[in-house]
């Protein structure tokens, strides 16, 4: 019997192109975390992140026949779609992620979910608050590079920039994030 877990992405993609929904479900399982993290780190709340995650995979299914690897991993292909989904959302709402304030995050993310009362949720909130203070491209490069563990080259493909530009952007983003974290730490004190 065919075991989806035994197949590589290439094989699953080929089956998905032939219309095999279960093969695409396996690809979903493999990459949903990365897509969700990319979205959640840049959205107001987890509900939107979940909705947009499904939207990303539906778009990917409809355009999977056009996917050609050519050095672009399937995850990068998914994250490019996720980036476009976010851009569409920003255009629709007339706002960009760097306009998201800490107040917005605190108000919308302090949902009644009991799990978020825990220490883990506080740390999660701390990360999102720190990222929310950064410019859009700083958030993007940090999420892609360190949360999703993409290489500089893959990050450059998703962000549609050169690898050198990504390296410079990454360096500045880290400096900015460190500065933000220090400021938050001082505020707490």
């Amino acid at each position: 019997m065919l075991q989806w877990h035994d197949l590589e992405d290439k094989q699953l993609i080929k089956l998905a192109k032939d219309g095999e929904a279960e093969a695409f479900g396996e690809l979903y399982e493999r990459h949903v975390n990365a897509v969700y993290r990319f979205l959640y780190a840049r959205l107001d709340n987890s509900m939107d992140a979940e909705d947009f995650t499904e939207e990303v995979f539906l778009r990917a299914w409809n355009s999977v026949t056009n996917y050609r690897e050519r050095g672009v991993p399937f995850l990068a292909f998914l994250l490019i779609i996720a980036r476009n989904v976010l851009i569409d959302q920003y255009r629709k709402n007339g706002r960009s992620p760097h306009q998201v304030t800490i107040e917005d995050i605190q108000l919308k993310d302090t949902n009644p979910d009991p799990s978020e009362i825990t220490n883990i949720n506080l740390k999660r909130q701390e990360i999102r608050q720190a990222l929310g203070q950064l410019r859009d491209d700083y958030q993007e490069v940090l999420v892609l590079r360190f949360l999703n563990d993409l290489s500089p080259n893959e990050t450059a493909q998703v962000m549609k920039r050169s690898t050198g530009a990504v390296r410079v952007l990454q360096h500045r983003a880290i400096v900015a994030l460190r500065k933000t974290m220090e400021e938050q730490h001082e505020q707490r004190i």
Partner: protein, 414 residues
Amino acid sequence: MSKEFNEALQSGLDLIRSGGETIDSIVARYPDFANELREQLEVALWLSSSRALLDPSPEFIASSKRRLITKIRQEQQATPAPLTWGQRIQEFFTVQKLAPVGFVLVLMLGLVVSGTVVSASQKSIPGDNLYTIKRTLEQIALATSIEEQNDAELQIQFVENRLSEVKALIIEGRYDEVADTLEDTEEQVYDTLEKIEVVSEQNRFLARDLAVQLDELLATQRTILEAITQNSPFQLSFQIARVVVVSEIVKLTAEEFSVFVPPTSTPPPTPRPTRVPTRTPRPTPTPAPTQVPIQPSPTPTTKPTKEPVEPTDTPVPTDTPAPTNTPTTVPTNTPTTVPPTNTPTTVPTNTPTTVPTNTPTKVPTNTPTDIPPPTNTPQPTNTPNPTVIPTNTSAPNFTPTQETNSSPTETPIP
């Protein structure tokens, strides 16, 4: 931001994540940018370690996957599966090619059906389903005809059609339609007579021929119709009588045209006079004699050298075998008298009929060469009677040509 620093940061992160190194051990390897590298490693590791905090819940993943697959299958049922490029190309060619092929097939079918209908309608008689098509086609043919003569010829053809239909209806015993068809025949004959009158205004000879043609057609049917009248009901015999009457009118019309336009005199005068003159002028220009006397004077100086070639090229000498024979024998005797007497009798008659155009041009050229010797003597006075003779004396041309070299030189001297 040096490339070396980035490589140190990336390798340091990998080594620390794998558990083999710490931040301090990595920083110790790069003392030049130790502080900056430490800060970057700390932030990057903090983000990496927080990765799990931003992961979705397992419940969401499971439920979301189910929803996704359900949506995909719903879309697959609603719309066909996404086509590959090969399938798209195949679909394109099947759709794009079948359309014109189908169109051509439908067109061919239409042509075949229409052709079959048209041919079948020609055999139809009144009361048949296709008879309307037959009469419509007749009207179309009449409307598309340009000349009055063609109209009249078509009308005669239609009269013949009506009479054939009458016979066919009588054979089938459909007397109801016979009466109507006879009425149509009568009208058709009158229409034809009117058209012949129109033609007569332009060409009475042609109108006479058409009237005679119509009369001959009705005459052959008249006896048949009269025979039918004896055993047919009154209404039918009445209609037949009307057709017979109109046929008598046609007969009178044809006779009138024949009286005013005699059949024998008409044809020859107009066409032939135009043709004959074109041919006859040719014999008249043949006056080779007229050209002959003109050329002898200039030729002695220049032409003798150039023109001797032409007679040999042209077929004239070969056409007249008699000349060729005489030179072979005569040469020795001819110089003075013999050739002129023999040639005039035979050759002149041949040249005007067969090769009138050739002889005048070529003969003169030769004659001058021959004539030189006669110039010494008064022989030209003898030749006038056979003025044509010199033209035919082309035959002797051969023999004198050898002598021309000597004779021309002699003539200028005197």
